[in-house]
Amino acid sequence: MKLWEYIVRRMFLLIFVLVGVTIITFFLSQVLLDPLALYLTEKTPISAIPSIIVHYHLNDPWPIRYGIYLWNLLQGDWGYSKSLTEPVLAGLSQRFPATMELAIAAILWTLVVGIPTGIISALRNNKLPDHVSRLVALTGVSTPVFWLGLLLQLVFFYYLGQLGLPHLPSNGRVDSTLVLSYPITTVTGLLLVDTLITGNWVMFGDALAHLVLPSFALGFISMGVITRIMRSSMLEVLRQDYIILARSKGLSERVVIYRHALKNAMIPTVTVAGLAIAGLLGGAPLTETVFGWPGMGRLAVSAIGRNDAPLIMGFTLIAALILVVANLIVDILYAYLDPRIKY
């Protein structure tokens, strides 16, 4: 089976899974919660209620209600957000780039720190660098991300500021006063990209400074996960017979590690990447809340306090969509790395 056939097959699975997710969100928002509440405000007269029920099919059997629900979703009607006073999809998509930028930065931290640390840890197995990085990685997967965010703010914003040292900002994506002087042209919604391509160096630096702490906090757990898996898979690979053969050819240790061992060790690491991305998406609401980051996660959290079910369910759907697509990409990457698997 060729690669594109595999992708097509996966797309069908993807659609099936997403439909399943809509069943869950439907159940949560329309069965567990009272959907009538969506359409009522304090001003609605009681007499209007029966017609509201009829108009929105609220008393119809569930399959029909689900059908309407799904149909609406596909048409882009994800409901109306009371708290935002705008449609859910619009509200979410407006904040989508912010969350994406945060997540991508967190992934970069994870890869740039996690993979080399894991490799070095395996090569210096049971020596000091190994013990240190293992402990740090283990601490990483045990750290509450919101607490870490708060501590980072305390140290890098407050304490450094108190000491008069250059410090990192603790809130938002940009400095709200600075951006007035150097307005950013929105192209992609990713501030680092937009400022770069428009040559807006001042805001590039500012956006970057704002991105550092939240992305590090968000990525901290994944860093730990990737370090651990990289280390253990590297150790496993270095024990393999084909490494002995490679050494017996007289190849230098560097070649043995980077050409023979690494590609094999990446395979288990890539399979864990899907889980790591799920963790990042889950950590987004917490991180965005702590850092006042205007992303979808923070929106969902604020929706909780206002009982804005459509918004929460919309966020759930988008998160699932992102995760499923990310998993597909990971699987393709895995198929590329490992010539043995047959799709």
Binding site: V21, T143, P285, L286
Partner: protein, 289 residues
């Protein structure tokens, strides 16, 4: 010291014990985990249970001192005592979540894997759907739908946990049911339920147990995280995530209010992660059947 003198069970225990002791970090984790459990157990006894309502405004927001080892919060309550009480709630929640998830997952996974057919296929597709929603996001959605309250939060996280255990156990069961003794039992006329409960499950449960101990560390992070956001126990009930929610208002003046509860969460999670690692290391070679 001849190896042949030891009985097999004793030798295994000895091997496990050796491995544990040799890895001092895991041993440390185990000790801390035991300490955490004891704190949770004895919490209300060591500390006065009314400490949550022992409001003393003159003593509010004091940094760590001899009188209050970890300082006081914005109501003048001793932070150390608050943390000890909170540990109980978090640990109990953690155990309930993993325990219930385990029970559901094992039952579903065992029956589904053993019986097979469309039931099994359907269950796997359902777990696929659950896996496609990030954990905390799903828990958040379920908790939002169920409403406030501690039990609802616990239920929400159980919903996140069960698919994982189901899949692991089902995978093990698929392999296990091919083994010869199963055919023998069926030939003897022993019913499937009995086979599953008395033979299959005990033989396949080890990898799931390993995953459970590894999950304990993660579950408490999810639980504390959602509590931090406002789910779970009411604002007055001592809970570690809640303490941080309250503490963040004073983060610059009284950082200890945020630092110590979070540190406690970290220590609990770390301890159970270490125990989970240790168990996995001990059991792992034997899992490759």
């Amino acid at each position: 010291m001849r190896r042949s003198n030891w009985s097999p069970a004793l030798a295994e225990l000895k091997f496990a014990g050796n491995l544990l002791i040799q890895n001092r970090v895991v041993l440390g984790g185990t000790i801390i985990a035991i300490g955490v459990m004891l704190t949770a157990l004895l919490g209300p006894i060591i500390v006065s249970p009314t400490v949550a309502t022992d409001i003393s405004l003159p003593a509010r927001l004091q940094p760590p001192s001899a009188a209050h080892w970890l300082g006081t919060d914005d109501y003048g309550r001793d932070l150390l005592q608050m943390i000890i009480l909170s540990t109980r709630l978090d640990v109990i929640a953690m155990l309930e979540i993993v325990g219930a998830g385990l029970a559901i997952g094992v039952t579903l996974g065992a029956f589904s894997g053993f019986i097979g057919g469309t039931l099994d296929e359907a269950l796997m597709r359902i777990t696929d759907i659950f896996f496609s929603i990030p954990g905390l996001v799903l828990a958040l959605a379920v908790a939002a739908a169920l409403g406030r309250g501690l039990d609802n939060l616990i239920l929400a996280i159980i919903v996140v946990q069960w698919p994982g255990y189901t899949r692991i156990l089902r995978g093990q069961v698929l392999a296990e049911k091919e083994r010869l003794y199963v055919d023998a039992l069926r030939a003897l006329g022993i019913g499937r339920i009995r086979i599953i409960v008395r033979h299959i499950i005990p033989n396949t449960i080890y990898p799931v147990l390993v995953q459970c101990t590894l999950d304990l560390g993660g579950v408490i992070l999810t639980f504390a995280g959602l509590s931090f956001l406002g789910f779970g126990a009411s604002a007055l009930t001592p809970e570690l995530g809640r303490l941080i929610t309250a503490g963040q208002n004073y983060i610059f003046e009284a950082p200890w209010l945020t630092a110590f509860p979070g540190l406690t969460i970290l220590i609990i999670s770390l301890a159970f992660n270490l125990v989970g690692d240790g168990i996995r290391d001990v059991l792992d070679p034997r899992l490759r059947r």
